[in-house]
Symmetry: C2
Subunit: 235 residues, 2 copies
C-alpha cells in the first residue's frame, strides 16, 4: 500500500488514529466485497447455505459502519482537524455509508436467490457477468481508496457507464423472457430487482471515487458530470 | 417553529451560524418536498410540462446539497464543535444526502411520466395514493427535523411499514396487469420503478428520523430495528 500521497496530508499528531480508522474502512470494504462476491456466486451455483450466510452476515457490516462512524465523530471532537485531515474524515464517513448500502444490495441479491430457489429461472448468464464486473468495480474502488489514487478513481468512475449498458441489456433480455412466458413474471421480477441492486452498486462505487477526488483535490465533484471529471486530473 | 429543545443544546457562540445552516436545510427540504409533490401530481394529471420542470429543477437540489455540505465542513474546521453541536452538524450532513437522493427519486418518477406519455397505462390509482402518503411522510419528517422532535420521529419511522405494505400491494396489482397483457410489460415496468422510487423515499425519511434521534438522544439507532425504537423515548 503506497501511502506517500496520503501522508503528505496528515499532520503528525493523530496520524496513528487516522491510520487506524483507514484500516477499519479497508476491513469493512473487504467484508462488503466478500459479501457481494458470495452473493453473485450464489446466482451462479444456487448455494442456499451461502446465500443465507450473506443475509446473516449483513449485521456485521452494519455494526462496522456504526463503530467507524462513532470513531470519526470522536476524532473530530477530540482532534479538531482542519484542511485535508478533516476532508479525510468526511470522506470516510461518506464512504462507509455507501459501503453499508452495498452490503444491503448484496443481501438483496442473496434474498432473490433464496426466494427463487427450485423455481423456473430465466437465463442468468448476463446478470452473472454483470455481477462479476460490479464486484471488480468495487474491488478497484477500494484499491483506489487505499492508495487515494485520483487517476484510478476517475477511470473507475467512467467504467460505470459500461455497467449501465450491461444493466439495460439485462433488462431487455428479462423483458423478452417475461413476454414469452407471462407465468414467469413473479420470478423474473425478483431477478430484475437483483440486477437493479447490482446497477446501484456501480453508482455507489462512483460515489466512493468522488470522495477520493474530494479528499485529494479538495473539490466536490458529485454533480459535475463524468465528462468534466477528466479535467480534474490536469488541475 | 419551536426551538426550545434545540437552543438548549447550542453553545452561544455560533448559534447564528448553526441557525443559518438549519434554515438552508429547511429550504432544501421545502424544495425537495415540492419536487416530490409535483412528480406525484404528474402521475395523476400527466402534465408533461411540470414533469420536465421536475427533471430540470433537480440541478438546484444538487447544488444546495453541495453548498450546505461545504458550509458544514467549514464550520467544523472553524468552530471546532463538540457534543451536541457536532452531532447537529453531522446530522445535517447526513440529512442533506438523503434529501438529495429523494430529489433523485422525484426526478425518476417524472421521467417515468415523460417516457410513458401517450402509451397504454396500467391502473395508476394505487401508486398515486402511495405517492401521496410518501409526500406526507416527507413533510412530517421535515417538520420533525425543524423541531428536532424525537417522539414525532419515532412515529414517522413506524409509519414506513404502511408505505411498504402499500408498495407490496402496488407490485401485486401491476404484476397481475402484466400477466393479463404481456405487451404492456415495458410500460408497466417503468411504473414499477416509480413505485420502487416512492418506497425508497419512505426509507430515506426513516433515515432522517434516525438522525433526529441521533442528535437529540446522542444515540445511533440505525440498525436496531423499529420495534426497539419506542424504548428510546423512555430513556
Amino acid at each position: 500500500m503506497d501511502n506517500m500521497n496520503l501522508n503528505k496530508h496528515i499532520s503528525g499528531q493523530f496520524n496513528a488514529e487516522l491510520e487506524g480508522v483507514r484500516n477499519q474502512v479497508m476491513s469493512m470494504g473487504g467484508l462488503v466485497e466478500q459479501q457481494l462476491n458470495d452473493a453473485i456466486d450464489t446466482v451462479h451455483d444456487q448455494n442456499l447455505e451461502i446465500a443465507r450466510r450473506v443475509v446473516e452476515r449483513d449485521v456485521k457490516v452494519n455494526s462496522l459502519e456504526v463503530s467507524i462512524d462513532e470513531e470519526c465523530t470522536r476524532m473530530i471532537a477530540k482532534r479538531q482537524p482542519a484542511a485535508s485531515d478533516l476532508r479525510l474524515i468526511i470522506a470516510i464517513i461518506k464512504t462507509i455509508a455507501d459501503l453499508e448500502r452495498i452490503g444491503d444490495e448484496a443481501k438483496q441479491i442473496a434474498h432473490m436467490v433464496i426466494d427463487n430457489a427450485n423455481k423456473t429461472q430465466p437465463p442468468l448468464v448476463s446478470i452473472e457477468n454483470m455481477g462479476r464486473n460490479v464486484v471488480k468495480m468495487l474491488h478497484n474502488s477500494l484499491d483506489a481508496f487505499a492508495r487515494m489514487d485520483v487517476e484510478a478513481a476517475v477511470k473507475i468512475h467512467e467504467s460505470d457507464k459500461r455497467v449501465n449498458r450491461e444493466y439495460e441489456s439485462v433488462v431487455r433480455e428479462l423483458m423478452t423472457f417475461m413476454m414469452e412466458d407471462p407465468r414467469s413474471i413473479p420470478n423474473v421480477l425478483k431477478v430484475l430487482w437483483a440486477a437493479r441492486a447490482m446497477e446501484r452498486v456501480g453508482d455507489r462505487c462512483k460515489n466512493i471515487c468522488e470522495y477520493i477526488i474530494y479528499f485529494v483535490k479538495g473539490k466536490d465533484v458529485r454533480h459535475i458530470g463524468s465528462d468534466n471529471l477528466q479535467s480534474i486530473l490536469d488541475e
